[in-house]
Each structure stands twice: as C-alpha cells, then as structure tokens.
Amino acid sequence: MITRLLPALATAGPVGVEPNTGQTVTFWICATLAVLGGLGMVLSRRAVHSALFIALTMVNLAVLYVTQDAPFLGMVQVIVYTGAVMMLFVFVLMVVGVDASDSLVETLKGQRLLAGIAFVGFLALLLTGVVRAFDGTTVIGLDAANAEQGGNVQGIGVLLFTRYLVAFEVTAALLITAGVGAMVLTHRERVTPRKTQPELSVERFTPGRHPVNKPNPGVYARNNAVDMPALLPDGSVAEESVPSPLRLRGDTQDADLLALEEAEHLLSHEPVTVDEAGEDPRS
C-alpha cells in the first residue's frame, strides 16, 4: 500500500494541501455552468430549450472529466452524449413538434411545491452523506494508474478486455437488442397498398386540385416578400400563393393596401423622362 501511495502522494497530495490553481478555476467555471444548464433544463417551458440547456451541462461535465484525469471519458462524453444522444433528442423533438411546450396548469394539486420540498430534502441528504463520507479522505490520483499501461486510453482498454470482458460482451448484446427494439417499436405496417403512377396522375387532375405549381407570392416590383399574396388577372387576391403556415397565423399582408401605397408613390413623384439615347437627362 505504501509503495502504491508514494508516487501518487508526490503529485496529488492529500486533502488540504494547496490544490492545482488551474483545476480549481476550471472547476468553478464549469460547475457553475453545469448547474445553470441543469436548472435551465428543468425550468424552461419549451422542450427544445431544455435540450440545449442539457447539452451545455454535458459539455461542461466533459471538461470536468478531463480535469479529473479521464481524457477518454471526456471525449466519449462529447461524442456520445452531446453528439449522438442529444442529436437523437432533438430529432425526436422535430418529429413530436418543436412548439410542444408544457402547460403551466398543475394536474396534481401542490405537486410543484411537494417536488421542491423533495428536491431540497434529497439534496440535503445527499450532501450530508457525501461530505461526511469524504471527510479527510486522501486523494491517490490517477497518475500512477495511467502510467502503468502508458496512458489513460491504454489503461481503460486493458481493463475492458481483461477484467471486464464479460460485461463488455454483454454490452454488445444490449446494444444490438436496443437497435432491433427501436426498429420494431417504430415500424409501421402498410395498411393500404402503395399508389401506382397512373393512379397518382389521375388523382392529380381531379377537380379541385392544382395540376401545376401554385402561384408565387409577391406583387409589383416593389414587394415580392413571401407574406405578400399574388394578384390574379382579375385583380383578386390569390390566397394560395402565400405559404400555408403564414396564412394560418394570419401573417399575410394586405395586397389592396399596397396597391394604394404604390399608386400614391407614383403620383407623388414626377415622371421620369428618357431622351433618345436612353439616358435620364437629370443625371
């Protein structure tokens, strides 16, 4: 035990010895950001904001792993968690609907208050246990363990393929099962036969359908924004030219109003005369 302790003591030192300043500064910055991210995740009403907040927490935790002599886990945290898992979350949010936000109505009465009390009580319990259990513990540090195989990644690799080989193999089975399970769960049986091309073309020319492109939005040279409906030859507004989300929100502009503005604009300016060479004489 002493021989194992000696090299570690030289580098890490026991609790209470002046700690590494860089590590301390990094810890306080990252810890603050991680807690803020966690709080933001719980308190923000929109699920997308929650996803972004927890991504912030995960990146900060990755930095904390690296400062704790776990560079491999730090990288895996960034790649697997912030990369793959959060990607998956955001993707499912796109499927379910980004606008889905929690209602502020409590289904169970006083649930939030009780949850807050439970939060404070649980936190106090955990903190008491942690602080008391770690009172005066000596930090051995991972320098010796990492140096044994030539590095952190090598050390983890050796352990993974010797002592934890069975668990590692079981993990492979778990991952395959999860992949197959996800496919089975999201698989949908086709209940109606796929439409053939003739059927599709017949459907396209049924009355009430647009066989060609819908008219583009925009009217006059002055305004071709997407929220400006086009005018039909008889002067009426073509509702279909504005994208349906804008129409549903009522964000379309009034084409008649713009026509009036246009007329006023033309009347208030003197007409431009062009000489024979095609140049404006005023310039």
Binding site: A8, V15, Q23, T24, F27, A31, A34, V35, M41, V42, A47, S50, A51, I54, L64, Y65, Q68, D69, Q77, Y81, L88, F89, V92, V95, V96, A100, D102, T107, Q111, A115, F122, L126, L127, V130, V131, F134, T137, V139, I140, L142, A144, A145, N146, N152, G155, I156, L159, L160, R163, T171, L174, L175, T177, A178, G179, G181, A182, L185, T186, R188
Partner: protein
C-alpha cells in the same frame, strides 16, 4: 482539487434531475432529466476513480454511458410510438399504457 467539491456538484445535478422528473410533464423532458441524473452519477464515478487511484471507476462510467445510449434509443422509440397513436407526449395521460 478536493474530491468533495466534485461530489457536491454531482449531488446537486442529480437532485436537479430528480426534481425535473417530478415536475415536468413532457415525456421527452422527463427523459432528459433522467440523462442528467446518469451524467451526475458518472461524475461521481470518475471522482471515485481519481480518489481511489484505480481506473475501475472510469470503466463503470463508461458502461453507464453505453447503457444510457441504449436506453435513449429504446425510450425515444417508445415516446415516438406513443405520440403517433395518442398525438401527445405528456406523461399525464392516464390511459397512455392501456391498449
């Protein structure tokens, strides 16, 4: 750096995750809170590894990450399936799990 600081941070994050599971109604956000709890436990494992001077804690954290990834895949698939049939991702729907 004192390992107690890391463990206190881990405890705070775990409690925030637990509170989120209790408070939030959206199944996806509840799931994110579970992920936060798993991450907090990972931080504790990494701290234990450094305190004890062995890499075993990091191996456990690694396995937690693998299991979390598998859990996310299946859980999100279940949420998507429920959303397709019920058109809602709220955990309040009482008859959600009934056929």
């Amino acid at each position: 750096m004192n390992p107690t600081n890391y463990l206190v941070l881990s405890a705070i994050l775990f409690s925030i995750g637990a509170a989120g599971v209790l408070i939030r109604r959206n199944a996806i956000v509840v799931f994110m809170c579970v992920e936060l709890m798993l991450n907090a436990s990972n931080l504790a494992f990494v701290t234990f590894a450094r305190t004890n001077g062995t890499l075993d804690g990091q191996i456990v954290a690694f396995f937690v990450m693998v299991v979390a990834a598998a859990e996310v895949v299946v859980g999100l698939a279940i949420i998507v399936t429920i959303f397709r049939t019920r058109n809602s991702a709220s955990v309040d729907e009482p008859n959600l799990l009934r056929l």
